[in-house]
Symmetry: C2
Subunit: 498 residues, 2 copies
């Protein structure tokens, strides 16, 4: 009876979520600029409506009553996950949420204006408010969730992940990468000396790039009866599991940046499309947090699409769609030189898979110190610079634009999110290793463009679990062990050393 009430509530929240997702997609893909103000207003009202429905006092009574009802195991899992999201949704007062949202909007707008000017000092007062609010939020959530303050924030993005475990895994990885990067760069230099990098010539028309993208998306399992590929300024994968909306953007002097982006987003899309059809309106029926989501996109991109096997399958298709002239003389090794290129740099989003984790670890260490009060907001540029010099040998002290001002996450109040990116990379490598133990011809399957067994494995071990288990539980069941950096390190060694 009470479970049925919660079920009805979940249907309402899911319908509102469906509308919000599609309105966001429409805004990024189709909406004319003049529609923005009213759209923002409508989205705000819908979000408030969803919040009011979800946090109505009666919901607590329904949860309490549903606990003693006769529920089957999947209903029990649904109720468990609903309680978790409910606790996370109700542990902040309306007054606090209001203060927080206002401060975040101001801070994010200020950041958009001041980042191009590299004006850290102008941004600092807003950033200090954001850090103060994030500390307050962490404290409030920590009490409600019985977690440490920083863990309570991580819980918002990757439920079940704890910073002690993350810190241990990251420490291992940092130690490894410090030694590995110089070796890998040397190996790359030797390869380049033997086989000079081949630049692209000619034009790559967007229509043809799209045809190639759609062909490869279809080959790796994306279902175009339940999704589509459009264009937007910032590529994304959004929508709903029954209708996954992916976007990319095209440049015309080369095709790999768009194509690799498409294949990355396709990993997100396959996860959504692979969620169980039943109980999708319950929180337990939705994808399991940001780390697991990123693991699926990075699995698709790093573990499948940037491999030699994949390109032996994809190169003929690329020639078909893009034209023989554009790819004249290109062999698989030439493409591999492009898709496996490594380079130290300032910017996280431009980083390759080898240096990327150091960008994340730096942010993890800094934001943990910020939330736990060991670091003041004003001291972030020095801390950032020290770590950048230490980890990548680059100084950002005179260049805050490409230092602590580069990401939208902190200005918009998202602390605890960054670890998900690298956790996703580690999960992807560990999954591939586990998969390969039971499927020794995995590489051969990829080389012949056969992704059925790979996707069946992912479907049963990841996608169909949805949020009925935590990320660590899913990993333990899928790979037989807890998360470790080992498989990712093995993967890098194998790919980048000779």
């Amino acid at each position: 009876m009470s479970f049925a009430r919660l079920d009805e509530l979940c249907r309402k929240l899911d319908a509102l979520g469906h509308a919000e997702a599609m309105l966001q997609v429409d805004e990024a893909v189709n909406m004319p600029a003049g529609g923005g103000e009213k759209r923002a207003e409508a989205m705000g009202v819908l979000a408030a409506l969803a919040h009011d429905l979800a946090t109505a006092p009666a919901v607590d009574d329904w949860i309490a009553a549903a606990r003693s009802e006769d529920l089957d195991p999947s209903q029990q899992a649904a109720l468990r996950e609903f309680e978790r999201t409910h606790r996370n949704r109700t542990c902040l007062s309306a007054e606090f949420v209001n203060r927080k949202v206002n401060a975040q909007i101001r801070s994010e707008q200020l950041w958009r204006n001041l980042r191009p000017k590299a004006d850290w000092n102008g941004f600092l007062p807003a950033f200090e408010s954001i850090v103060a609010l994030a500390r307050e939020e962490a404290q409030l959530r920590a009490e409600a969730l019985q977690l440490s303050p920083y863990d309570a924030l991580v819980e918002q993005f990757d439920p079940g992940s704890r910073s002690a475990e993350i810190a241990a895994v990251f420490a291992d990885l940092k130690r490894f990468l410090t030694g590995f990067i110089p070796e890998a760069l040397e190996a790359q230099a030797r390869r380049r000396a033997a086989r000079p990098a081949k630049p692209f010539h000619g034009e790559f028309p967007p229509e043809r790039q799209k045809m190639l993208g759609v062909t490869l998306m279809t080959a790796v399992g994306f279902d175009f009866d339940h999704g589509r590929l459009d264009i937007s300024h910032h590529p994304f994968c959004s929508g709903v599991p029954s209708d996954v909306r992916m976007t990319t953007r095209y440049t015309t002097h080369e095709f790999l940046s768009s194509l690799m982006g498409i294949l990355h987003e396709t990993g997100h899309g396959l996860y959504e499309q692979g969620l169980p059809a039943e109980r999708q309106h319950w929180p337990s029926g939705k994808a399991r947090g940001m780390a697991m989501h990123e693991s699926q996109s990075l699995f698709q991109e790093m573990q499948i699409s940037r491999t030699r096997e994949f390109w032996s399958f994809a190169l003929p298709l690329a020639r078909d769609h893009l034209g023989l002239a554009q790819l004249a003389g290109f062999e698989v090794d030439d493409l591999i030189a492009h898709v496996q290129k490594i380079e130290k740099g300032y910017i996280r989003v431009d980083a390759d898979e080898v240096t990327y984790p150091l960008h994340v670890i730096l942010r993890f260490e800094i934001e943990k110190d910020l939330i736990e009060g060991r670091l003041a907001a004003k001291d972030v540029p020095e801390a950032w610079d020290a770590k950048m010099r230490d980890y990548l040998g680059l100084s950002t002290i005179d260049n805050p634009k490409d230092g602590p001002m580069q990401d939208v996450h902190w200005p918009s109040g998202a602390f605890g999110y960054f670890p998900s990116y690298t956790l996703g990379a580690l999960i992807a490598a560990q999954l591939r290793a586990a998969m390969e133990r039971g499927m020794p011809d995995l590489g051969a399957q990829i080389a012949r463009g056969d992704f059925a067994a790979i996707n069946d494995w992912r479907r049963s071990k990841i996608w169909q679990k949805a949020s009925t288990l935590s990320t660590p539980e899913i990993m333990l069941q899928a790979t037989g062990e807890r998360l470790s950096a080992k498989y990712f390190e093995d993967h890098l060694r194998q790919r980048y050393l000779d």
Copy 2:
């Protein structure tokens, strides 16, 4: 205080309406087929949510209390129109609405299956239920609104319009058309003998048709910062005033059917874009019913775009965009022969502006008799056939597919809608005549592609009134008299006789 509560409710309903409109647009334009089931579910939940919010018992109290609050005139108009929509929304019980919706879905699905087979007898039982429910609904609404049963249905589509007045106007028009059509057909035959119709040759690629469409939409005043043009199977104009979504579809052997459709829908779009920016979330801030909406599309199509003046402006642009070869040797008169062609036929949606009203009058007379109990559902084919023979000299007795089974309106339970189409045509002609009295060079303005004064007139007299007045009140203020068939008849005489 209570007005403020109603204001907040209107914002919520408006946001839900915004979402519903955009989800419908997305469904028609973008959605992959597999997304349909979940989309329908989400739309159903959102509609129910809106209904629950709008009909909550507290709303009656807010209305009652707001009546004695100190409101400015525009707030008073808002409250008045809100009360009207509220009364219309609450006069049916949930039990009845449920029965009605279920019967309509069944009947419409059955109609879609049986229409291609011309199976009237198979459809009849469902149609009988629909008619019975429509009579019941008309009775319930009549009591709540203090109107006659049929008027209570018309009120849903064209508030303020009464069937006694419609019947008088239609009787006049029917009398006129019976004599006029043979004359107009003779005149057309004479023109054709003097100047044979010139068929189109070659291909008209959709991209070029779209460029021409966008050019003409822009010229007549459509604001692409607040709207766009896409493709869908059934062309429409939807979205929200700040973001009007129009669609068309293209054939490649000619360009006029799509272009005239685009200009028709642009009339709807201009109305939406021209609504007052203030209080758009109140019912009083929305467009004034179907008749007025159709008057704006028909004004754009019939009173502007199918004129000689318009084509003297548009033909050079058509040549620019479509190619000189495709339009080689075409003069304005050749295009006029296409856009002013008249022909008797079975199908309403294919009819020209001369014969169209007879299709509507026939349906008006039949549905009024059906609702008022003078005609049984089973006798519709005979009644239809008799009137078709009488009005257009065509028999449909052996062809129900192109007779009473041709429209979706009745199978989906929409009785009282049909008059709006022809009322719109009459309003459009009457508006143009009134406009021309104060603007003698109207034709010259059109010929030089200057639509600013025309749109200013429409904006101040129609668009900005939104729903603060009824259709008859708007007409009286804009034209100085009540609706009459006279101006439409003059228009036809002037256009179609020599």
